[in-house]
Amino acid sequence: MTDLSHLKADFPILEDGVHFLDSGASSQKPLVVVEAMSRFAQTSYANVHRGAYRLSVAATDAYEAARERVARFIGSSDSRQVIFTRGTTTALNSVAFGWGMEHLSEGDRIISTEMEHHSNLVPWQMVAKRTGARLDHIPVTDDFRLDLDAFSRMIDSDVRIVSITGMSNVLGTMPPIREFAEIAHGVGARLVVDAAQLVPHSPVDVEASGADFMAFSGHKMLGPTGIGVLWGRMDALEEMEPFEGGGEMIADVTLHDATWAPIPTRFEAGTPPIIQAIGLHAAVDYLDSVGMDKVLDHDRALTEIALHRLGDVPGLSVQGPTTIENRGGVISMVMDGVHAHDLSTILDQQGVSVRAGHHCAKPLMRRMGVAATARASFYLYNDESDIDALVTGLRQARDLFGL
C-alpha cells in the first residue's frame, strides 16, 4: 500500500484522536493552502482584470496562473477551457441552463442516471420542464454499477445531452466515462460528467476522457470553498450561452443589448473567487507533488482493508461495490437495528466523523430501498487507525443498542 502517513502532519486539524472520514463532503486543507491564501491576501490582493495599477495586475496574473495550473492538472492543453465557478453545483447549472435552454426543445431527450447527486438531477429536471424535453435515467444494477446495456438501448437520435457522475458520492462507483462518451457521441449527444468526487481522488485527463463538459469543486480537493471548475471542449463551450449576466462578462453593453466577452470571461460574471483560486492553485500543486496515481492507490488500498474489516461487523451491510475495481474510497453503511444518525452520533464519541442521511441522492436511496446510510469516505491523510476507530465505534453501537 502506498504509504502517505507522513502527509498527516501537513493538516493541522488532524490531531491525534481525530478520525476524519467525511472528505466526500469536504476535504481538510493542508497548511500550504491556507498560507498561500493568507500570503496573497496580505501582499498581492486587489480585484482582477481592468485594473491599471500594480496590485491589480499582480492579482490578475496570479488568478490567471491558477487557471493555467488547473488546466495542466486535468490535462487541458488550453486554459481558456477552464471556467472558474462557485462550485460543482454552479458549473452543472451553467451547462443545464446555458447549454440546455439553447439547444433543447419538445421532442428532445436528456439522459441522466439513477445514482446522481441532486446537483446533477434537479437542474436537468428544471430545464426539462422549461423546454419540454424528456428526461430519462440510466438504471443502477443490483451490483451498484450503471447498466451500460440499458443505456445503449435507451439512446436514440433524439438524445441531445447525457449527464453522468464520474464517481458516485454514495456508492463509490466509477462509471466508465470513455464508454459512455462513445455511445453518447454515436448519436451526436454531448456528455457532461459530474466529477466532484472523481477529480479529487483520481488522475483525470479531460481530453482523453471523452467528456464534453466536466464539473468539480475546489473544497473537495484540499482547496477552499467557493471555487469550482467547469471544463468544456472549446466547441461545446461555444454552443453555450452565459448562465449569468453582469460585470466582466461583456464585450459591449447598450441599454437594451449586450455582446459577450471571449471564453472563458463570458462565463465568469461578477468578481470571481480570487483568493480561492490562489488556494486551489496551491492545492493542485500539493496533489501533484504527492501524485494522483498514488492518491488513488492509497484510497483504494484503504477501501479494500475497510471493506474486509467491515465484513466482520455483525448486522452491517455495505451499499456499494464490494470489490475495488472502478471504485473510489466511499463506503455507505447500513446497520440492522441502528439508524445511520445514531451511528453517526456514537462514532463521533470515538472521534470518527462520518456523514449520515441521504447524501443528496434521494432517488438512489429509494432505488436501494434504504432511507439513510452512514458514509465513510477516505482521502490521502487517512490511515488504518481511522478504520480501527470506525470498526470499534460500530461494535460499540451494537452493544449500546443491545444487539
Partner: protein, 148 residues
C-alpha cells in the same frame, strides 16, 4: 455526559417496540412531517371525542430519537384534552430547549413532570439531534391545528 445518557433503556425500548403504530379506521385529523435534512418521516392521525384525543396512530421511519420521541408522545397524549396536550407539548419543548428554563425536572422523582419522556432530556446535550426529537411534536401541532 456519556452515550448511555442519550440512549437510555426506555428510549431503546420505544425505538424497538413503538407504541400506537399504524393507521386509524376513521381519523378526524392527520398531518405529515418530514425532516428534509436527514429524511426522517412521520404521519400522525388523531381521533377526537369532543375535546379529548381518543385515539392516535403514527407511521414513521427514522432514527431512535425521532422514533422513540413519537412513540412516547402518543402514550402521553392519548385520552388527554386539547389544552392538556398543549401543556405537555410546551413542557417537552422547554425540556428540549437549551435556553428555556421554564420547567425544572424533579431529579428526586424522575418522570414526575413528563413521565417516560424525561428520558429524552439527554438529547439537548446533542444539539444536532434536537430536531429528531421534535419532529413528532411539530407534526402533532400541525394535526391539532388542522382539526381546528
Amino acid at each position: 455526559m456519556g452515550l448511555e445518557d442519550l440512549y437510555r433503556e426506555v428510549i431503546l425500548d420505544h425505538y424497538k417496540n413503538p407504541r400506537n403504530r399504524g393507521h386509524l379506521a376513521a381519523a378526524d385529523a392527520e398531518a405529515q412531517g418530514v425532516n428534509p435534512l436527514c429524511g426522517d418521516e412521520i404521519s400522525i392521525e388523531l381521533r377526537f371525542d369532543g375535546e379529548v384525543v381518543a385515539d392516535v396512530a403514527v407511521e414513521s421511519q427514522g432514527c431512535s430519537i425521532s422514533q422513540s420521541s413519537a412513540s412516547m408522545m402518543t402514550e402521553a397524549i392519548k385520552g388527554k384534552t386539547r389544552s392538556e396536550i398543549m401543556d405537555i407539548t410546551a413542557k417537552f419543548r422547554a425540556m428540549m430547549s437549551l435556553d428555556d428554563d421554564t420547567i425544572e425536572l424533579d431529579t428526586d422523582r424522575p418522570g414526575a413532570i413528563l413521565g417516560d419522556l424525561e428520558a429524552l432530556q439527554g438529547v439537548r446535550q446533542y444539539p444536532v439531534r434536537i430536531k429528531c426529537a421534535s419532529l413528532g411534536w411539530n407534526t402533532l401541532l400541525e394535526a391539532l391545528d388542522k382539526a381546528g
